[in-house]
Subunit: 425 residues, 2 copies
């Protein structure tokens, strides 16, 4: 078993309150996944990522924050540095970075197309040069799978081509066809090799438990023998609803444990993003998790979650934080009021003794003032980036916690009982 | 009352196990004080600084780490940015940075002499240009005191001149004489103005408690009405024992709540530093706290603590951490074995799944491997500097915890009973 997905309630709009069960734990959906590009959520330590957000989970001494239940890492970056074979030898990316909860890796496709220089695409794969040292590399669907199996995230992604924006219908169709061929090859490789994931090894395997950290010793005591990674297919089709439909149907035929909607939030107007998501969701099976990649602003992730998207990820909370941009509510005491961006650099924060967001219960808002955060930012102090990132991540997680609360109120009668629990072998 | 100092035990070598009681809390001595130059211990959040080190303090659910009981902030840096008046209006540096425990500020003298350009020294004070924007400033003893009172640390330092190294006996004597004149002026200003410290204001003062953070509201409920800051004199005299003696005697005549030994660790050989400390300590009163500024390596702070130094500070643990240099024990399971520096960048750490220091119980050594820390450093990830700094600070605190344990074993009969508790009015 690699993945199971249970849906507890569905709203009239199609929003789903569910739970994803993965080898490294459970994930309440809809979920926002913080991005840990190089096996680190930038500037935020793992124990902080685990305890982000409002206290909502009953613990021994009252409520505890849920923290991020799943994070993402980037295959392209980890492949180049420190290298996937090194991470495999360390027991996989969880053990390497000391993260005990679920993880997802992208396929590297998006980074290869957007970051790497001198790329050359053939039907077989993509040749590119590293953004770090200019060295030459080749990614095929099979190679992306091999790298992702070495990394060992709970969920891996099929290797897809991301078309440039804007692109003609013909260009988009041809690219989509390549994505479909690559999806089939990705799936074939995954089925044949998924037993090679590093945490399927016995604890007496290549990593020497005895010389490891306390974390590593605890990790090695877990049992993953019956478990492997899940593979998601990625729907492409650009900004063309007919191609989105075709792509969704084609991938559903291939029968993946979950489906992603790719190629969005690449510069198109927001109404178009929304339209493409809506026009894709209607062709995806209701009993499988649905993941929109690389979105978005807090109000967007809320909107898409209410439409029936189960998973989302975005670098925005951490990247904006590093630039001193903080997400707050227009009326801090009404968590449904519009999202506003606060620029901490601004002079009017210089003597503001209040928190970033008076209605936020994150560890930053409870302790630090805007005046102090502005000072840290103005002084280039590393703690500024850390605290800003923590608040923004907590804001995203709080938003999703509220959406999940709303969706939980819906009767679960809208979904046929058979679809509520689906275990993918 | 500003400061009380109790000595519980004294070793044959002169090392003292004591407790310093300050307006913001108690400090177990001998103590190492992490440096928070710009009101932040670089790259380490306040809640982490509070929980550094081995678990040694009994708590509700077992032992808790003591954390740093006192930290230092730099007057020169905070004067320039964000400005001492801004910090005064925020309620002082504790409230500004959300740090509830004791703090110490230096006088700004050392930074003015070593960092600022175009300095011009007269008997009245020092004119200098800001290293940030070249703007012109003037620091006199009175101005340094005014700035330090606005910052409101528990301990402030007299304004002194730091002589260049090497310096002739005559040059050192003249500089020392200036330091003594400035010490008298510092003390006069402090005595007249110490009631102006911002936390002596009633909680309904200039900072609006209601709009503050949870931390600020709790801070404002403390009562400091009867308390004020302590001022330490600084012994100078360069590398000349006769001048050190003269300086110590002169300052002791002025009767400060505590005494610092300045002008050391400025490039002289380590035997000279040790000699100067020893030759100064013998002229300082045994019932007052003694602070050696700006030292040193972990084995140095241990050595000086055993000689009778009660307080030390140094940027080394955080600065070395940001450069990937980590302090460990040669034999990790013998905490009395020599200190070794580990360069995390080195290739032989690339696949090392063990912790930095297998005998260290800090949060970094319990969770993260050398391989991961090397990856973070090589990738320029901000978490690398944070985790390295945490380990190094914990290593320093663990060292002092062990020294305090050793000193506690000595009978307290070596010290006359009357000297054990001295309250400075």
């Amino acid at each position: 078993m690699s993945l199971s997905f249970e849906i507890a309630a569905v709203s009239a709009e199609g929003g789903r309150r569910g739970q994803l069960t993965l080898p490294h734990g459970d994930v309440q959906t809809p979920v926002f996944m913080p991005v840990g590009t190089a096996a680190t959520v930038k500037a935020v330590a793992q124990d902080v990522v685990e305890t982000l957000g409002d206290p909502v989970v009953p613990g021994e001494d009252g409520l505890l924050p849920r923290g991020a239940e799943i994070i993402l890492a980037n295959t392209y970056h980890l492949y180049l540095r420190p290298g996937h074979e090194l991470i495999r030898r360390a027991g996989g990316v969880h053990r390497f970075m000391s993260w005990r909860r679920p993880m997802l890796t992208d396929s590297g496709g998006f980074q290869v197309f957007s970051l790497a220089s001198l790329r050359k695409i053939t039907a077989d794969g993509v040749e590119f040069r590293s953004h770090l040292d200019g060295s030459k590399h080749f990614f095929s669907p099979e190679h992306s799978m091999a790298v992702q199996i070495a990394l060992g995230a709970d969920i891996m992604m099929a290797f897809d081509e991301c078309v440039e924006t804007p692109a003609s219908w013909e260009r988009t169709r041809d690219s989509m066809a390549l994505t479909h061929a690559w999806a089939a090859r990705s799936k074939a490789y995954w089925e044949e090799h998924r037993h090679e994931v590093p945490w399927a090894y016995p604890p007496s395997g290549p990593h020497e438990s005895k010389s490891g950290t306390e974390f590593a010793r605890a990790y090695d005591h877990q049992h993953f023998e019956e478990k492997h990674q899940a593979l998601f297919g990625i729907v492409q089709g650009g900004m063309y609803p007919d191609l989105r439909k075709e792509s969704a149907e084609k991938l559903v035929e291939m029968d993946f444990p979950g489906y992603a909607i790719g190629g969005l939030a690449v510069g198109e107007p927001r109404e178009v993003t929304r339209e493409m998501i809506m026009r894709t969701l209607e062709h995806l099976p209701s009993d499988k998790p649905r993941y929109v990649m690389g979105v978005g602003y807090p109000d967007e992730i809320e909107e898409y979650a209410r439409m029936g998207v189960d998973m989302m990820d975005c670098v925005l909370p951490t990247r904006a934080g590093r630039h001193g941009l903080l997400f707050i509510r227009e009326d801090p005491h009404d968590r449904r009021s519009p999202v506003v961006r606060l620029n901490i650099k601004k002079l009017d924060n210089a003597e503001n003794q209040g928190p970033i967001d008076a209605g936020c219960h994150c560890q930053v808002c409870r302790r630090y003032s805007r005046a102090y955060l502005r000072h840290l930012f103005a002084s280039g102090e590393p703690l500024g980036a850390t605290l800003n990132s923590i608040h923004n991540l907590a804001f995203y997680l709080e938003t999703m916690e509220r959406v999940r609360g709303d969706l939980s109120k819906f009767p679960d009668s809208l979904e046929p009982p058979s679809a509520r629990e689906v275990r993918f072998p």
